[in-house]
Symmetry: C2
């Protein structure tokens, strides 16, 4: 085969992969937004076939031959094509190890599991989800071996979401976090509680929608390329760097819920919209990893969004949207309310300080599930035990306990730690950003241009061109969680006068 | 290859085709409902690849060999599999004649054309759409040869939407219609005009939405399987017989617009939802043709929906939704208003009597465009000439003229006549239905069970199991447009006291 032709064929291969991903994403987006209730069966058939087609595309003898040939000439390729070959070969080798029937059956299972979980959560009925959860765990244990048989199963899964991360590293990371967070929480408990009751006044949905539009505007999100929808669980979905969708959920008794989910998902969206054009429709389009993605979302949600400076900048406008609810509340009161630290049951509603403790609970349970030392049926008890140990609270039911998150029903085991890693990456990025950008000053003006510019230059643009660890290193040096623990200590010591 | 195995492989082939169709449909649905404005480029890439994959799937040597083998044993197959083989071979032979590059380029063109047309219509700027229209015409002239080189090009296109129909048949059909409609219109013009001004009071969108829900309920549409969305141009989209979406458009100054579009699209939806389960995921799932589909939609919209009996049945409820707007209006006044006959500019807002004249304008223009005797640039003048001749009115601009319909921008030439055929099929079905169902009596009770039951038994269930002509024949004997002209004559003679 001629040289140029092989590269062209690889580009076509990637476009096909892109088209199949678009297709599944679109069906998923439809499912969680407007699809009628009883339509999952036919969609499941389509999704499982599309997944099968993607596997077949990636593992066909022609694709293998093409990538093998390109791999022999890596040195002659430019950086982008070289990285494409590397990542595609990785995908291919992994996929080739998964039997096609198992791959399609798993795709059907996750589609079904999502329904079962939804109903189980609605009815607070863990028993109905339990067998499906066990099936999902069993598949993931098996798939871990296909991904990388040289690793422990849970390490192999972790590596799928954040390459290079393993239990040894995470055990240390989480221990260090706990050593910072737990004493802070103890001291906070002895201080007077912050009043956040005004966040729970009645906030009409229409006003919250207009407020969400305003937040997106402040973030510099171009609505011609970034949609905002409504779903039970907020998420970001990217088709390409010119077409990203975020969703939020409006709670009339919690103005902070939608506000911070828009900041969070908006951070994900800025990442996707900032990826270089020449990576589009290739394997390198899209954020490099879950951890790096969360570093961006939580940067905007917490480091910027929950900063005194940013709140001060937007607060006059916030009061304009909600004059009755917030007329008598100062920016400082609002700032303190959205930063109130208090152990709670639900991860997505937890504060910046306790958030990682929620992650640790899930991490410990996943470790045992995938390690084979815990069965699905024992998850509720273990969940309760860990919430007692880490957060000091009792879990009254499974709906607010182990049924709260959608991740497991979607087959994601090993994803949760990315949230904690993202927090830590973000704090380290902040430290480096501050060397050249007046972060606090800009936030105080509500001007995020230079901040987003820095992230775009150091992180966003690269997509999957570098590995996650290299993206972090490129942006802020060797990963070091101390920046995050220092950030939390500084913020909460000041806030509560510890 | 073994016998069973070949049949199984054909089933898998059809499921793949189904999955690819689901994918494209989902992307299309997204595009016309929630997608951000500037995202068509990336979606176009995906859609064109998916179209290419479908063509490749259908024309691969393996598929050809499989279908050829099955074709040799047609007599040994059951009816369903036999019909699948026949239709799949037809598709395959057609597709195989279209060069892959042309097929994908055309898919990209229609995606682009849709955007161009939208903007052109918005700006009343035919010049910007003209070159794209000519491109679309040129492609369709060429494709007509691929479809069936033995036919005249426009006959080949007509045959794509309604098999067995050609210009010779349509010329006669339309002449017969004109001979009925034009004299009726002349007589109506001499009579006092019907007052329909109350239809154009202010009708709030939220109330219209609740009204639309009510209409769907009366039609027996199960909302767990049939969604209702909002788009500029109402349409029906089916994923399978358990998942159908209809859309409507709410005009605050026209309560009839959404009401009758829901009845119309609801008729399409009932057809799709009524197709047999054993045809799902096969080539025979889905309504058999555009003409038969329109017979169903226009049956509910006009024959039932615009009948005095049905209006009488639902009118108390209509008044409940709109007490201020319709409190002083009687059911008879409402009935007369929604049946007011008057030549107008816009097809989708035209009345039951003049509707087919709008279709004839398009038919005559398409005949010339595809016949090569008219160029795109001359369409506006020809449009104006024909509206003058057929409807006796002047076309003031292209927005309400030749830019009003989306069909040509989507590449559909030969589709329009299906609307007129559907009207005529429907009137003939009514005649036969009345032999066993008390149509007027049931409509007067607002009970459509037996009516839908008849259509389900005679039409819906078969999907593509029979040809369009056979479906019509099975439901009501050899096609005869006299039932339709008699229906129109009866209805409008009574209504206007002619």
């Amino acid at each position: 085969m001629e040289w140029n032709k092989a590269v062209q064929q690889m580009e076509l291969l990637q476009k096909k992969k892109y088209a199949l991903t678009c297709a599944s994403s679109s069906l998923y987006l439809d499912a969680v937004t407007v699809a009628p209730k009883n339509t999952s069966e036919g969609r499941g058939v389509a999704l499982s076939i599309l997944a099968g087609e993607e596997q077949k595309l990636m593992t066909s003898p022609e694709t293998r031959a093409l990538l093998d040939e390109l791999a022999e000439h890596l040195d002659e390729l430019d950086l982008v094509h070289r990285r494409e070959v590397e990542e595609l070969r990785r995908d291919q080798e992994q996929l080739a190890r998964i039997p096609a029937e198992e791959y399609m059956a798993y795709s059907e299972l996750t589609n079904r599991a999502s329904d079962v979980w939804h109903k189980a959560k609605e009815n607070n009925d863990f028993a109905s989800f339990c067998p499906v959860l066990q099936e999902l765990v069993d598949y993931n244990r098996k798939f871990a071996g296909y991904y990388d048989a040289s690793k422990k199963p849970y390490d192999a899964l972790l590596n799928q979401y954040e390459r290079g991360v393993d239990m040894e590293m995470l055990d240390k990371f989480f221990a260090q976090l706990r050593q910072t967070i737990v004493p802070l929480l103890k001291k906070i408990a002895e201080k007077p509680q912050i009043d956040d009751s005004f966040l729970h006044n009645y906030y009409p949905v229409e006003k919250q929608k207009a407020f969400a539009d305003y937040i997106m505007e402040v973030m510099g999100l171009d609505r011609g390329h970034c949609g905002l929808g409504e779903t039970e669980h907020p998420f970001t979905l990217e088709f390409n760097n010119k077409d990203v969708r975020i969703t939020t959920n409006y709670d009339v008794h919690n103005v902070a819920s939608s506000m911070f989910s828009v900041l969070h998902e908006g951070g994900h969206a800025l990442y996707e919209l900032g990826i270089r054009d020449d990576l589009q429709y290739t394997r390198l389009a899209g954020g490099v990893s879950m951890g790096v993605h969360e570093s961006q979302s939580r940067f905007y949600e917490n480091i910027i969004g929950r900063s005194r400076e940013f709140i001060g900048a937007i607060y006059p406008k916030v009061q304009e949207f909600f004059p009755e609810q917030l007329g008598g509340i100062s920016a400082e009161q609002f700032y303190r309310a959205v930063n109130k630290a208090q152990p709670s049951l639900v991860r997505t509603e937890s504060d910046e300080l306790t958030y990682c403790l929620h992650i640790m609970v899930r991490y410990e349970i996943e470790k045992q599930l995938i390690g084979g030392t815990l069965e699905a049926k024992d998850v509720p008890a273990e969940w309760a035990r860990l919430y007692r140990e880490y957060l000091g609270i009792e879990v009254p039911n499974d709906r607010e306990g182990c049924l709260q998150d959608s991740h497991w029903s979607g087959g994601s085991f090993g994803y949760f730690p990315s949230y904690a890693l993202g927090n830590a990456y973000g704090a380290q990025m902040l430290h480096n950003m501050e060397q050249t950008v007046d972060v606090a000053g800009d936030a105080a003006k509500g001007d995020l241009t230079a901040i987003t510019g820095w992230l775009r230059e150091k992180v966003h643009q690269y997509g999957g061109l570098m590995t996650p660890a290299d993206v972090v290193k490129n942006a802020c040096g060797e990963f070091d969680p101390s920046y995050y623990t220092a950030y939390l200590t500084r913020k909460y010591t000041e806030l509560y006068g510890l």
